[in-house]
């Protein structure tokens, strides 16, 4: 009994049409079928947060979704965060500079979680950052440098003109 379905999904701006077994999780689909191994799997039951992706711009644990549920939806993984192959996103740059990771296993899930968080809350307090990453387990850093990096990234993102501001300036 191996039921499959054909799905169309956009991942990091690229459209994929794939045949998937209906019981395959979204996380396994992203890693094994699309070959995007930046999304990590730690616990596979929704506790560690390593597999967090953005599903229609909202963070979600990809181990707790089926690939077939992604049909027609838009996904962002850690591979899609940087603006170009040779330039890191300000959040990634801050993690790099502040030693916000050691082994890096939890980092993809933490970055995707924080992309959504900083979009909704551009000027967070330290406590708010700690709550925002409370669903992501990191066993190396003790979270200290993750929090430092996030607060610094928030500052950089606030200073950086957003695309809409750039567009408005070009129009005037």
């Amino acid at each position: 009994m191996k039921e499959t379905r054909k799905i169309a999904v956009t991942v990091n701006g690229k459209r994929y049409e794939e045949e998937v077994e209906v019981r395959v999780t979204l996380a396994d689909f992203i890693r094994h079928q699309l070959g995007l191994t930046g999304t990590h799997l730690g616990c596979e039951h929704g506790v560690c947060g390593a597999c967090t992706i953005l599903f229609d711009d909202r963070s979600a644990r990809s181990c707790l979704m089926l690939a077939v549920q992604a049909d027609g939806h838009d996904i962002l993984t850690v591979e899609g965060i940087a603006p170009s192959p040779d330039k890191l996103h300000p959040l990634q740059q801050a993690f790099h500079e502040h030693h916000g990771l050691q082994c890096g296993f939890c980092t993809p899930g933490i970055l995707t979680t924080l992309i959504e968080f900083l979009r909704d809350n551009p000027d967070p307090s330290e406590q708010e950052v700690r709550i925002a990453i409370s669903g992501n387990l990191c066993r190396c850093t003790g979270y200290q440098n993750i929090v430092v990096a996030t607060l610094d990234a928030a500052k950089r993102l606030r200073a950086e003109p957003t695309q809409s501001q750039v567009n408005a300036a070009q129009r005037s």
């Binding site: 596979e44 929704g46 959504e116 409370s134 669903g135």
Partner: protein, 294 residues
């Protein structure tokens, strides 16, 4: 840690979903997936069919109508968390939701899924108990309503048949000036509560309590109201050790022993947390009557 094989169904209407439930053996409904998916990954459940409700139309809404909040079963916890109506008139729900899992799980988790999973430590289950919420259930012969007091029939077992599904839930509104507090103890932020207390209070400007609801979560096999506490404080103007004395009765409530805590510890927590929640709720009640934020 991979789901077992199953047949997958994604109905587009409630009628289709009910029809599938009537014709399929050993089917499981998939709502937000934040409980069922881990259970599938760990193979705690082995359904032959998954009926995914995520593409069913018309089950995601928040309506503030006639003194009640009507919520569609597939409404995401996150949408409730960010709802202005919830914040303004059901503020305890906002306070409780911030303690439901994490942003990543609230983005997917639904109110209907949480109520049907019926974990006695779940925050939304405690709230539904405290509010005497009404659950609307759809089945082959139409819809019926179930009072939340009748909803849990046993540990994690709701009063719905295998061919029925929950389509909505209604939370009545308390007076515009009411006090509220949701207080819980858990090991880590976002965990299920080891024990929780949800308190709603109505009263007059002098502080006299005219109506009270105290719901204790995480204690027994089903969530329950602390009726003795409610009876001890209604009609009283809180002073001295009223709350402390009233909450002592929580030490007699049924409690479970598990890996997280022994029953005696939960009973102690119930007494302490309900007192804290009452104090916080009463302060907010007075603040509301004084015209401050509530």
């Amino acid at each position: 840690m991979k789901p077992p094989p199953f047949r997958y169904h994604d109905p587009k209407t409630v009628g289709e979903a009910v029809g599938l439930l009537a014709s399929l053996e050993n089917a499981k409904l998939l709502a937000g997936g934040q409980s069922l998916m881990p259970m599938l990954n760990m193979r705690f459940v082995l359904p032959d069919h998954i009926v995914d409700l995520n593409r069913v139309e018309g089950l995601s809404y928040i309506r503030d109508t006639q003194g009640a909040l009507d919520i569609g079963a597939m409404t995401r916890q996150r949408d409730l968390e960010f709802s202005e109506a919830v914040r303004a008139r059901w503020p305890i729900m906002h306070e409780a939701l911030l303690q439901v899992g994490h942003r990543q799980t609230r983005n997917r988790g639904t109110i209907g899924g949480s109520l049907c999973h019926l974990d006695p430590a779940a925050e939304l289950v405690s709230l539904a108990t405290g509010y005497d919420a009404t659950v609307t259930v759809a089945g082959p012969t139409g819809q019926r309503e179930v009072a939340f007091a009748e909803f849990p029939v046993a540990y994690m077992t709701p009063a719905i048949e295998a061919n029925e599904l929950v389509v909505g839930v209604r939370f009545p509104q308390w007076a515009a000036k009411h006090g509220y507090a949701f207080v819980e103890f858990s090991r880590r932020h976002g965990d299920f509560a080891i024990t929780s207390a949800a308190v709603l209070l109505e009263g007059d400007a002098a502080g006299k309590i005219t109506r009270a609801s105290v719901a204790i979560g995480g204690m027994g096999t089903v969530p329950r109201r602390a009726r003795e506490v409610e009876q001890a404080i209604v009609g009283q103007v809180p002073a001295g050790t009223l709350f402390r004395d009233a909450c002592e009765s929580c030490r007699k409530l049924e409690a479970i022993d598990d890996v997280h805590a022994p029953a005696s510890y939960r009973q102690h927590l119930a007494a302490v947390l309900s007192r804290r929640a009452l104090e916080k709720a009463h302060a907010r009640l007075l603040e509301a009557h004084a015209g401050g934020p509530h």
